[in-house]
């Protein structure tokens, strides 16, 4: 485990009282989230595990409905009324957030984990000036006086490249790109440990998208931000993230360093996903389409959820849930193509140890 | 037809439900599963019985000459709701009042809905300057308060026509109320129908092929109308609630017909006889409770219908 004390040392605000200073930033283990619907319970997230260290950027990718947003929102238990965490642990600085009540988890919202939502037009209060919206958590959550909160809001706007005078603007007076920047400024207001970006560039055109990504990269560098970036756009993850986690139908398909996963994808779904993205540099070729549709999560198929659409599916795939295996290079895959006997046995989500010989079966 | 191409044989005795019958059953099921639909319907059924068979239930409508009781007696001695200042049995008056109040409400609703739907469909479908003009006119009517317009129009019309004139056996005063309610309520219906027509119009361009060659009247009748019928029905029920409410108010003010005692008219008599100040609660409670129940019931049913039939209402329940 690497704890970057240098980054932790730069925190402006004290750690949570229950925090273990030597614990890793974030460890999510076996997280399961369900939604109660009138005709059944949707198993939106099923046994997802991952981790995040100080200063890291993790990208969560997958099709619409694969559970990436739900996973991120459930870190601070920000689910709609019919959603609930069925099981698992979310350990922030060693503190398990899952058993916390609504009142208790409020402490961690925005101050430790903040979110930049997509479509900032609707995510900002239309009748409130953006300066006030940015200053609000500083004043209310951090207990700072109003004047200094407002001043800080102006500074944050400058930090994201918006002129300070715009604190008095309303959301509809800003362009789409500026609104997204304002959302980022707002997310930084309480100097959080983790910022989650939920499709932060999806609604923007490509040029603005590039600017936002550059901004995020700069902030990461300068402020030592730890980032979770949720998107269906793999090129965004390729540019900005250190590691990537590919999700399918509520489960983790593959996870590892971006370079490794993208250059040599192991899971059939990852391979399909990568080949369905056009590459500007290589020759034109037909885009591959993944036939079929993601499964209905009220009644997911037994075994591997990708099996019905998988070109390499074997009989065992539709019967047994593929266990997660970890490769020597740190990449985790859940696929029967990679039996556990071939790989080392570190528990899921842990940092890669030195490469070993063939070991015990993964848990 | 060879057996190979014949449709799969149904087991004997099992009927196949046709599409529209199946949808109707679905609708009824959804409606009854809502508590507001259930209670509303129950209350309306009760009052429908009262309105349809008053003579069977309480005998003929008592008048000043046929009244048998003492003046302003509290309940007791054979009079379930006591008597009014003329000695009439209030139970008798109240039950007959159901028919009168509801009849007026019904006729007013018919006028409102017909006029409102007509304007709404035409304005929405034809669009352009016709639409603008119609909407400006309807805006004007929306702004005018019903009561005030009624108070102005009623005496004018009565003076022109004469208070005892009759049309189809209905006295002029009643006609005035019906017309006035219709005049002031059609605008809301028109607006609601119009927005629905606008969204239907969008969809219709997909069905262009079907409607090419048909005249606008035909299109409006055969394509637009079926798609807004649901909304019209829901609006009609809600309008009925308003109509009964308004009729009661107008009758209370004195624009009603003393010989046809709707609930509002009864309350008018009660006020005139000083019932509240005298504490004659038995005179006030029956018609008041009836009005509230009926208006409430129509509102509940109308809301239920609106939620089920109108896609845009969304899952607001």
């Amino acid at each position: 485990m690497t704890v970057d004390l240098a980054i932790r040392g730069r925190r402006q605000w004290p750690m949570p009282k229950q925090a273990d200073p030597a614990a890793p930033l974030l460890r999510v283990e076996d997280l399961s989230v369900r939604f109660r619907m009138p005709n059944g319970s949707v198993k939106a997230v099923d046994g997802v595990s991952f981790g995040l260290d100080d200063g890291e950027a993790l990208g969560i990718a997958g099709e619409s409905g694969c559970g990436k947003t739900t996973t991120a929102l459930s870190l601070v238990k920000l689910l709609p009324a019919n959603g609930y965490i069925k099981g698992g642990r979310v350990e922030l600085f060693g503190i398990d957030l899952v058993p916390k009540t609504e009142l208790q988890i409020a402490r961690y919202r925005w101050r430790e984990i903040s979110i930049v939502f997509q479509g900032a037009m609707n995510a900002l209060n239309p009748v409130q000036r953006i300066g006030d919206q940015i200053a609000e958590p500083i004043e209310i959550r951090l207990g700072q006086p109003r004047e200094s909160s407002r001043k800080r809001a102006g500074e944050l706007l400058e930090l994201v490249g918006i002129p300070r005078e715009r604190v008095a603007s309303y959301p509809h007076e800003l362009s789409g790109g500026m609104r997204q920047r304002a959302m980022i400024a707002m997310a930084l207001a309480c100097d959080p440990a983790i910022v989650i970006g939920d499709e932060p560039t999806t609604a923007l055109d490509v040029m603005v998208q590039a600017q936002i990504l550059q901004l995020l990269e700069r902030l990461r560098r300068d402020l030592g931000l730890s980032l979770i970036l949720i998107t269906h756009d793999l090129s965004v993850i390729a540019e900005t993230c250190d590691r990537v986690m590919i999700m399918y139908a509520g489960r983790v398909a593959e996870e590892g360093q971006v370079r490794r996963v993208f250059s040599a994808p192991r899971h059939p779904y990852t391979q399909k996903l990568l080949s369905s993205f056009p590459n500007v540099r290589t020759d034109r070729r037909t885009l591959e389409v993944i036939p079929g549709m993601p499964p209905d999560l009220r009644n997911p198929p037994p075994g591997c959820r990708f099996a019905p659409r998988c070109p390499s599916a074997m009989p065992v795939c539709s019967e047994v849930v593929p266990p997660e295996v970890r490769f020597a290079d740190g990449v985790r895959v859940a696929c029967h193509l990679y039996p556990t006997s071939d790989v080392t046995s570190d528990p899921p989500g842990a940092r890669p140890a030195a490469p070993t010989a063939a070991g015990e079966p993964a848990p | 037809m060879t057996p190979a191409t014949a449709p799969p044989a149904a087991a004997p005795g099992i009927q196949r439900r046709s599409g529209s019958a199946g949808r109707a059953r679905l609708f009824v099921g959804r409606f009854l599963s809502r508590s507001d639909g259930r209670y509303g319907l129950l209350i309306l059924a009760f009052f429908a019985v009262l309105a349809l068979f008053p003579d069977l239930l309480v005998g003929k409508l008592e008048t000043a000459t046929t009244a048998t009781g003492q003046s302003l007696q509290p309940p007791g001695g054979g009079y379930l709701f006591g008597t009014d200042e003329l000695g009439r049995d209030i139970l008798n008056l109240t039950v007959h009042g159901a028919r009168i109040s509801m009849a007026i409400g019904l006729m007013a609703t018919v006028i409102t809905v017909v006029l409102g739907a007509l304007v709404g469909i035409v304005a929405g479908y034809v669009g352009g300057p016709t639409d603008t003009v119609l909407m400006r006119v309807s805006d004007f009517f929306l702004v005018l308060p019903t009561i005030v317009l009624a108070i102005i129009l009623a005496p004018i019309i009565l003076d022109i026509v004469g208070a005892d004139a009759e049309l189809f056996g209905i006295r002029a005063t009643m006609i005035v109320i019906i017309v006035v309610i219709g005049l002031t309520s059609w605008a809301t219906t028109a607006r609601v129908i119009r927005s629905q027509v606008l969204s239907v119009k969008m969809r219709m361009f997909v069905d262009r092929a079907r409607v090419v060659g048909s005249g606008p009247g035909r299109i409006m009748r055969r394509h637009v109308l079926p798609n807004v019928v649901n909304l019209i029905v829901a609006q009609a029920v809600l309008t009925f609630a308003t109509a009964v409410f308004t009729e009661t108010t107008l009758a209370f003010i004195g624009l009603g017909d003393p010989f046809a005692p709707s609930w509002g008219q009864i309350l008018n008599s009660a006020q005139g006889a000083g019932a509240p100040g005298l504490g004659a609660w038995w005179y006030i409670a029956p018609p008041a409770i009836c009005v509230v129940l009926v208006v409430l019931a129509f509102t509940l049913v109308g809301n239920a219908l609106d939620d089920i039939l109108n896609p845009r209402s969304g899952a607001r329940r």
Binding site: V76, L78, A106, R107, R109, R111, S114, I115, F117, G119, N122, A123, L124, N125, P126, V127, Q128, E136, P137, R141, H172, E173 | V143, L144, P145, T146, V148, L149, I151, I152, A154, P155, I156, D159, F245, T248, T249, F252, I253, G254, L255, L267, A270, Q271, A275, P276, G277, L278, G279, A280, W281, I284, A285, A288, V291, V292, L296, T299, L300, R316
Partner: protein, 323 residues
């Protein structure tokens, strides 16, 4: 406040008022034998009649001369003379009764808005909970009750029955000689029940509408953002949901104002409150057309002005509209 928006709204209001004047004029002339019948008022001297005929241009063609004369007369405050009130100018008659109505209706609106918006907001925010069931149920019932259906039982129970309040009127006779404090107390005692009736009569509708509005607002993304900021639920309701949910209410409240003044007529009848409502009833039974015309004009124009004010207020509250 954007000048263009303001100008547009003022122009619309103006057009509507003109339309009302024309409508009033036509109705006036529609009756058989009028306006001569109106001027057959036995309380008017022949000189007054002649002067009025000249001012109203009754010897000239109907349109445009009579119309213009009518508009001029109206705008300069000449609304004719009351039949019932023995030749008093209509403006005087109206002036004497407007005060009590505004007192009753104005206060009633204020309380109903405060109460209705609060109940509706809490009911809608905790949708499906007990607050919602009780609040919405009570609101639906109140919404189905005309003012007098609320008022009459109030009189029976609290005035005739318990004797806590007077059964009718605005003041006790002979009060005007008493010290001001006593007068105020007397007015207050008379005000309670009618005010309660008007407030309850309005509250139901506002509560139901506000509940809808809050439920719609609750689904917006910025509410999720506010929750994500770790703000308390009540804070989110008060500072994010409520200001946005209020916007459609402003328009609805304004539209309602016209109905309120009119509907309060029935409340005034029940309590014998000496306002416009009671005046309307007397004028109605006496067929005092000038007064009725005057009331119509007053109410209709008030509604237009109320709508205009609402539009202006809306412009202040919703920054998107000002652009």
């Amino acid at each position: 406040m954007n000048a263009h928006y303001l100008a547009r709204k003022l122009a619309q209001a103006f057009v509507t008022i003109v339309a009302i004047l024309v409508l009033n004029f036509l109705m006036f002339r529609m009756m058989p034998g009028s306006p001569d019948r109106v001027l057959k008022n036995p309380n008017l001297t022949p000189e007054m009649i002649a002067a009025t005929r000249a001012r109203w241009g009754l010897d000239k063609p109907l349109i445009p001369d009579q119309l213009i004369a009518y508009v001029k007369a109206t705008v300069s405050g000449d609304l004719g003379y009351s039949i019932f009130y023995r030749g008093q100018p209509v403006t005087d008659v109206l002036g004497a009764t407007v005060g009590p109505t505004i007192l009753l209706v104005g206060l009633g609106e204020v309380f109903a808005i405060i109460g209705g918006l609060a109940i509706g907001a809490y009911a809608g925010w905790r949708r499906g909970g007990k607050t919602d069931s009780i609040g919405t149920g009570a609101s639906l019932i109140l919404y189905s009750m005309p003012y007098f259906v609320i008022g009459m039982p109030l009189v029976v129970i609290f005035a005739a029955g318990l004797g806590w309040f007077p059964t009718s009127g605005m003041t006790t006779p002979g009060m005007s000689d008493q010290p001001l404090l006593n007068q105020a107390w007397d007015l207050g005692r008379h005000l309670v029940l009618p005010l309660l009736a008007v407030t309850l009569g309005l509250l139901g509708g506002y509560s139901i509408l506000m509940r809808s509005s809050i439920i719609d607002t609750r689904n917006e993304d910025y509410i999720t953002t506010a929750r994500a900021k770790g703000l308390k639920d009540s804070w989110v309701l008060r500072h994010h949901a409520f200001p946005n949910a209020m916007l459609p209410m402003v328009t609805l409240i304004a539209i309602n104002l016209g109905y309120v003044v009119a509907g309060a007529i029935t409340a005034e009848i029940v309590f014998n409150w000496p306002g416009l409502g009671t005046l309307t009833i007397h004028a109605l039974s006496a067929r005092d057309y000038p007064v009725l015309q005057g009331i119509f004009l007053l109410v209709a124009v008030s509604v237009v002005i109320a709508n205009l004010i609402a539009d202006i207020v809306y412009g202040f509250l919703d920054p998107r509209v000002r652009a």
